[in-house]
């Protein structure tokens, strides 16, 4: 490859795709750096697959362009792009052996026979399938087929590996194992991964950066921590992890609930006035006796326990605030051991810094 070593591997620039009058991908701009593991996260129908197909060349954008290692490939067909795809359905060639499947891309590039044999062996070893060399892919389990698909794509050393929900057809246990496996492989080969998933946990666990999509547009791009701790919209906050929502009215650095209780706002939201939505994560909340002192760094509201569910490592407590709003607290079992029973009143505490503040505009409801 003659492309620049230090430029991005893949760039979407203002990409829009319209299907029957509806923009399925809207003005998406995204830069993917070499070696990154990016997860494209979004609910079903948000345009993730379409975005990937545009990168692979199976769909062509109505607006915008795609750069692959600095080269404009917007109108290039799939077979002239240095990207490879791992399909959700694996899409292995059923009439070829595992080795012939993996060798397919190298053969198209007229790589010498001895080199093919060597590279195929290496790729199958990478995914732990060297024993299955001569097998027909139809005799393999879902997880094994997934590995063959991975080896078949990676053996070509693509500039970017595109993965469209590659694990969603596997059962939970194998999926967990493949997540770890996929991360290991990513680190070992150093290829850039663009990974589509609708599973927020999978995205958090695997990706260097997460791209949250909603109705075809990028809602937020950031590290797992940024997305989780500082979601820029209620949609992101809700989609990634669970969230407690409170409706309040902001004035001079605090938000007032309808019963008069005060929520102190973090530095960046001090300027807000008028109706707001306050969010905080159930696992960032602690419960304390009703007469406990609220620290200067904390927010605290009174609530009545409506249910306590012991779940092993954590306990989930559902509570009702005095103005009727429902919140949930999740904490490790030892923290909650001295709680009053159902019906008792406690103080819900969380840090001011982990309080999320959003506009109360009704269009942002999810």
């Amino acid at each position: 490859m003659t492309a620049s070593i230090d430029g991005p591997d893949l760039e979407f620039s203002g990409v829009t795709k319209i299907f029957s009058g509806r923009a399925v991908v809207r003005r998406v701009s995204l830069t993917v750096q070499p070696g990154e593991f990016i997860a494209v996260l979004g609910p079903s129908g948000s345009g993730k697959s379409t975005l990937l197909k545009i990168a692979a060349g199976f769909e062509f954008p109505d607006e915008g362009c795609i750069l692959l290692r600095g080269k404009d490939v917007t109108t290039e067909p799939p077979y002239r792009r240095n990207v490879n795809t791992v399909f959700q359905s694996y899409a292995l060639f059923p009439h070829m052996s595992v080795a012939d499947n993996v060798a397919y891309g190298l053969r198209r590039k007229k790589v010498p026979q001895t080199e093919i044999a060597h590279k195929v062996k290496e790729a199958l070893a990478l995914v732990g399938l060297h024993r299955f060399w001569d097998n027909s892919p139809t005799t393999l389990s879902g997880g094994e087929q997934q590995r063959v698909a991975l080896a078949r794509a990676l053996v070509n050393r693509p500039a970017v590996l595109l993965l469209d929900e590659p694990l969603s057809a596997l059962d939970l246990k194998i999926r967990r194992r493949m997540q770890i496996e996929l991360k290991r492989i990513h680190q070992e080969v150093g290829t850039t991964f663009l990974f589509v998933t609708h599973d927020q946990e999978e995205a958090l666990v695997m990706a260097d950066r997460i791209v949250v999509m909603r109705e075809g547009a990028l809602e937020q791009v950031g590290t797992a921590r940024e997305i989780y701790d500082a979601p820029v919209t209620p949609f992101v906050a809700d989609f990634v992890g669970e969230l407690n929502w409170l409706d309040a009215n902001a004035s001079s650095g605090a938000a007032i609930l309808s019963d008069g209780a005060q929520i102190k706002l973090p530095e960046a939201s001090q300027h807000r006035r008028g109706p707001v939505r306050i969010g905080f994560r159930p696992e960032k909340m602690r419960l304390a006796p009703i007469d406990a002192v609220i620290g200067p760094q904390d927010n605290g509201v009174r609530a009545t326990i409506t249910s306590v569910t012991f779940q092993g490592p954590i306990t989930t407590v559902d509570l009702r605030l005095t103005d009727g709003m429902i919140v949930r607290c999740q904490s490790s079992a030892t923290d909650t051991i001295e709680l009053p029973e159902k019906g008792g009143t406690v103080l819900c505490l969380w840090q001011i810094g982990s309080t999320l503040v959003f506009d109360a505009s009704p269009t942002e409801q999810t």
């Binding site: 799939p78 490879n84 059923p94 012939d100 198209r108 070509n156």
Partner: protein, 278 residues
């Protein structure tokens, strides 16, 4: 399941068995009779048995009219099977795309199967007449056979093409295969059984075709037409010999085809030698 219903089903099995034996008898007895009579040393077809002879075979092999009719049939059947399989494949591939009036096009292709051959033949000869198109082997008869066999070709190929996952072709394109290479290395090997079945099917349909051919062929001959003419004019055991040879030929074509199908079952990427052993 209780004893009564078990014994009932045993009776049913017995009845079906008997029925099957009867079917096989009526299927094969005429053929066996014909083969036996082709060795009969007598002047007419049928009994009495006049002793064993191979004379009728020697005579058939020396009969230039019969040989000519046979080669006409073979050549016509080869052309018909190749052309109709190609057309059938084309329509099957087109049917994967969504286009307006697709259902109509496909149904219109299948419909002639329901029209009696003789009706179509009369219609065709009338139409050809109007168009000034003379009866003959390579014009009228070829067309008549194609109208007859293309639906069968399509029906053999369509299911294979239809159930083929387009993602698999996308994967091949993704790995660097141009559309033609995708067709050659991915689609073709997997629909090959359907293509071979179609070739065999259309070959035998054309090779055996009589009704339409009789109307469309004019003064030329195919084997069935020739056979019919000698049965009418000179029914000797030579007719049985010709029929036996024709059946043998058909069987060997089908046998060869089935062998071919079995052979390619264990083959991988048709494009290259397999990746060397490890």
């Amino acid at each position: 399941m209780n004893a009564t219903s078990a014994s009932l089903s045993r009776n049913a099995v017995g009845a079906f068995g008997l029925f099957a034996v009867a079917v096989y008898f009526f299927l094969y007895a005429p053929v066996v009779t014909m083969v036996i009579l082709s060795f009969n040393d007598s002047i007419g077809i049928g009994l009495p048995w006049g002793g064993f002879t191979t004379r009728w075979y020697r005579e058939s092999f020396a009969n230039t009219l019969a040989i000519g009719a046979f080669f006409n049939s073979v050549r016509l059947a080869v052309v018909v099977s190749i052309v109709s399989t190609t057309l059938g494949l084309g329509v099957a591939l087109a049917s994967r795309r969504i286009f307006k009036g697709k259902a109509l096009v496909l149904n219109a292709l299948i419909l002639p199967l329901l029209i009696p051959g003789i009706v179509l033949a009369v219609g065709q000869i009338t139409l050809f007449n109007v168009m000034g198109f003379l009866p003959g082997l390579w014009g009228a008869t070829l067309l008549g056979h194609l109208v007859y066999t293309v639906p069968f070709a399509f029906l053999n190929i369509f299911p294979r093409v239809h159930r083929f996952d387009p993602n698999i072709e996308a994967a091949a394109a993704d790995l660097g295969a141009t559309p033609w290479v995708v067709f050659r290395t991915i689609l073709l090997p997997q629909i090959m059984p359907g293509l071979i079945a179609s070739l065999l099917f259309c070959f035998t349909l054309s090779f055996d075709e009589f009704t339409r051919t009789l109307f469309l062929i004019g003064s030329e001959n195919t084997l069935p037409v020739y056979f019919w003419s000698i049965i009418l004019t000179d029914p000797s055991p030579a007719a049985s010999a010709i029929a036996t040879l024709s059946v043998l030929f058909s069987l060997s074509v089908i046998g060869g085809g089935l062998l071919l199908l079995n052979l390619r079952r264990r083959k991988g990427d048709s494009d290259a030698t397999p990746v060397g052993a490890h």
